[in-house]
């Protein structure tokens, strides 16, 4: 069906708290993957769970046809999380060599939120973790609404998608919102890439 130059497969769990904007990360990756002529499946969660509860999306991209919309346990190559405790919730899905790219700032809307130091200790046990205070970084750089794209920039290497392809996807996804929005998100992507190094 597609012209694909190289073999690739990346299974991604996107997660966070309802309303944090994980679906716009998914939209950019989906756009980029489609422009690369890759196969895509992306299972989202809508409805009741979006009201401040935990949310996740399974995003699968591959040079070969994909059967299941859902990722198998131990099958994810990357977890991209807008919230550090939420990253831990999906560890059963992460493969042994998988990456966790997460925001380090807790989103506390429950009374029994654990100690953040304990969460950091759990994250530190994993082989490949990038934790960034994306909200702060976004504020410091005057792009407060693009924190999620910083996270995407930090995940770029783990995703195995070319940087330029993600940039182009941002242009087409945000294009109708005007140049200022596009530039803010391009800047966010670059900040994320730097922060990951």
């Amino acid at each position: 069906m597609f012209n694909v130059q190289r073999k690739m497969k990346c299974d991604i769990i996107l997660c966070g708290v309802g309303g944090q904007g994980i679906l716009s990360i998914a939209t950019i990756i989906g756009e980029a993957a489609m422009n690369e002529n890759l196969y895509i499946k992306q299972a989202e969660v809508h409805g009741m769970s979006q009201r401040g509860g935990d949310v996740q999306s399974n995003l699968r991209i591959s040079s070969d046809p994909i059967a299941s919309d859902l990722i198998s346990l131990g099958g994810a190559d990357v977890i991209i999380s807008m919230e550090p405790m939420e990253a831990l919730r999906y560890l059963p899905y992460l493969n042994k060599e998988g990456w966790v790219i997460t925001s380090s700032a807790p989103f506390i809307n429950i009374p029994n939120y654990p100690n953040i130091e304990d969460i950091k200790a759990e994250l530190a046990k994993l082989p490949h973790v990038v934790a960034i205070d994306i909200e702060q970084l976004a504020k410091d750089n005057q792009i407060p609404r693009s924190a999620n794209v910083i996270l995407l920039g930090a995940a770029q290497k783990a995703l195995g998608i070319d940087y330029a392809t993600l940039e182009n996807a941002i242009r087409s996804v945000f294009g109708r919102k005007g140049d200022a929005v596009v530039e803010a998100n391009i800047k966010a992507l670059a900040l994320g890439r730097e922060a990951q190094k």
């Binding site: 708290v17 309802g18 989906g30 756009e31 489609m34 196969y39 895509i40 499946k41 992306q42 299972a43 989202e44 969660v45 809508h46 409805g47 009741m48 769970s49 979006q50 009201r51 401040g52 509860g53 935990d54 994909i66 059967a67 299941s68 919309d69 859902l70 990722i71 198998s72 346990l73 131990g74 405790m85 939420e86 831990l88 919730r89 560890l91 059963p92 992460l94 809307n109 429950i110 029994n112 939120y113 654990p114 100690n115 304990d118 969460i119 759990e122």
Partner: protein
């Protein structure tokens, strides 16, 4: 051919538009809502003036679609699985009347109840209404099958039920779509009154006709390109997989004889061919054991495996893991167990909750304040965001059964002697199924207090228009609620003393009182503020 990244729901919507759709009729319900929303925003649909306004409930939707079909045009009805219960009367009887223009009834089931109160499987409705049923297994099939379904509906003069599940409705994939849409049907007067007037004498004839038609429908299913039998000589295990479950079987990578089912009535001929060449057959289907029960029959064959025999989980959604484990257990001597890390113990549950600034919060705060004065108050809840009032910190409701049940259950409880009996229902749920119950209560002067918590939208499903906006006082008065026991308040912390006083007084009134707290949903409020900013 163009490639588009589409949700299953969007693929369905576009497939219907490209098949010459003239109207979609629906009430919002997860996971079916995005179908109608897609059509509402689609340029072609706008250009053609395709009907897409939300209906008051699934029954009015189904009946309006039948009206459009009666006039020769193609109509789509969309709903979530429990919506089928609401429109069951016109749906089942549409199997008797048949159709003129094509009708597709799209129902999105929600196994594992991500956003629902049960996991009923809509394929059973298709079977007992004797209506052919389609079950696509991919977004591409969903798009392609829509045109096939409309054509088939007109060819057989019957509606077609198309069933999807959450993972199809809410999952995106690349779909190849046509460049051009078919023309809409012209209006015509071909509908035969004798078919549509279901007087017993007419209905009996129709019943004989449709019953006789079933053999042809099954034959068509056996020859359907969407039902595929792949045999490979004699085998110890074969698989019957339907809809999205077929993908989990493919994902597992097992290579055994397989019958993929995406069109019903169940083609017994193909099932028999598979059974003849396999020692055992596992039935892998999303939802309830619909195929499995038919294949097992009353003889309870030991060679049919599935949800009924415990190889697959009896309830809940299938996953690639549960399907792979079930297949491996049959196919390998020593199935290896994958070592899966546990979720760290410190991870706390994060349940959904009412938004900060939501008016329902103020309503529950006031209600709880009054009800703590009583020993045994009972609050009958309903379907919507405010069902979350069951959870801490409010713990405010004692029931939530189906759309509209708050008012009628409060009335029944009052009939039994309960006081205070309070009903809390949202604006959209009230017009969907609450108004008739309120009339019952008014007619009997039931001793209940009804709170219609009006946020000007159908909030739970993402903020769709609500049928009764700005009409609630008039509706209540029209149903006979006494003007002095009908109150409109604005649920804000600053108005708390007034709201508390009104609730207290009306609980003490021996008759039907209605209190309508009115304040826009905080989510749609934010969205509207953003739109205003963008437009200015």
């Amino acid at each position: 051919m163009e490639k588009k990244l589409l949700l299953g729901d969007e693929a369905i919507a576009l497939g219907a538009l490209h098949a010459g759709l003239s109207g979609v009729y629906a009430y919002p319900g997860t996971p079916s809502t995005e179908i109608t929303e897609f059509i509402q925003l689609n340029p072609l649909a706008k250009e053609r003036n395709v009907h897409s306004r939300w209906c008051t409930n699934e029954k009015t939707a189904m009946e309006a679609a039948l009206g459009m079909s009666f006039m020769g045009k193609r109509a789509l009805v969309c709903m979530k699985h429990v919506g089928m219960n609401v429109c069951a009367d016109p749906f089942v009887n549409s199997g008797m009347t048949g159709v003129n223009g094509g009708v597709v009834v799209l129902v999105a089931d929600d196994p594992s109840m991500h956003s629902s109160q049960d996991e009923q499987d809509s394929r059973f409705y298709g079977k007992f209404a004797m209506i052919p049923t389609f079950e696509p297994s991919s977004q591409q099939e969903a798009y392609d099958m829509m045109e096939v379904a409309f054509d088939y509906s007109e060819k057989q003069c019957l509606p077609v039920l198309m069933r999807v599940t959450t993972r199809m409705a809410h999952s995106r994939a690349v779909v190849k779509v046509k460049d051009e849409a078919r023309k809409e049907n012209e209006m015509n007067y071909n509908a035969v009154a004798a078919n549509w007037v279901l007087l017993p004498a007419n209905a009996r004839k129709r019943n004989d006709k449709v019953t006789a038609q079933q053999a042809q429908l099954e034959e068509d299913a056996a020859n359907s390109p969407y039902n595929r039998l792949k045999l490979s000589g004699k085998a110890p295990l074969g698989i019957i997989a339907s809809g999205i479950a077929y993908n989990y079987v493919k994902e597992s990578g097992v290579d055994v004889p397989i019958l993929k089912i995406s069109q019903y009535p169940l083609p017994k001929k193909l099932v028999r061919q598979l059974l003849d060449s396999c020692e055992k057959v596992m039935v892998v289907e999303e939802g309830q054991p619909f195929i499995e029960e038919q294949v097992r029959g009353v003889f309870e064959s030991q060679n049919i495996l599935g949800r009924l025999t415990g190889e697959l989980p009896r309830t809940g959604e299938l996953t690639p893991d549960s399907v792979a484990a079930a297949l491996n257990a049959q196919l390998s001597e020593n199935p290896k167990k994958l070592e899966i890390p546990e979720i760290p113990a410190l991870v706390a549950a994060r349940p959904p909750q009412l938004c900060q600034g939501c008016g329902h919060r103020d309503v529950y705060t006031a209600l709880n304040e009054v009800l703590k004065e009583y020993e045994n108050p009972r609050v009958f809840g309903d379907i919507g965001c405010y069902t979350l009032g069951f959870l801490p910190p409010y713990r405010a409701i004692h029931s939530c059964v189906d759309m509209g049940a708050s008012i009628t259950m409060a009335k029944g409880a009052s009939d039994a002697g309960q006081w205070p009996a309070v009903a809390i229902i949202g604006d959209s749920t009230f017009t969907h199924s609450g108004m008739t119950g309120l009339l019952d209560a008014v007619n009997e002067k039931a001793n209940i207090t009804v709170i219609i918590s009006d946020n000007f939208t159908t909030a739970m499903t993402g903020g769709q228009d609500s049928a009764g906006t700005n009409k609630f006082e008039a509706i209540c008065l029209g149903l006979g609620v006494e003007p002095e026991h009908l109150h409109v308040v604005v649920p804000l912390p600053k108005n708390m003393p007034e709201i508390i006083r009104i609730i207290r007084e009306e609980i003490n009134y021996k008759g039907v009182s209605v209190i309508i707290p009115q304040r826009e949903c905080i989510q749609t409020f934010k969205r509207h503020a953003k739109e205003r900013k963008q437009n200015s």
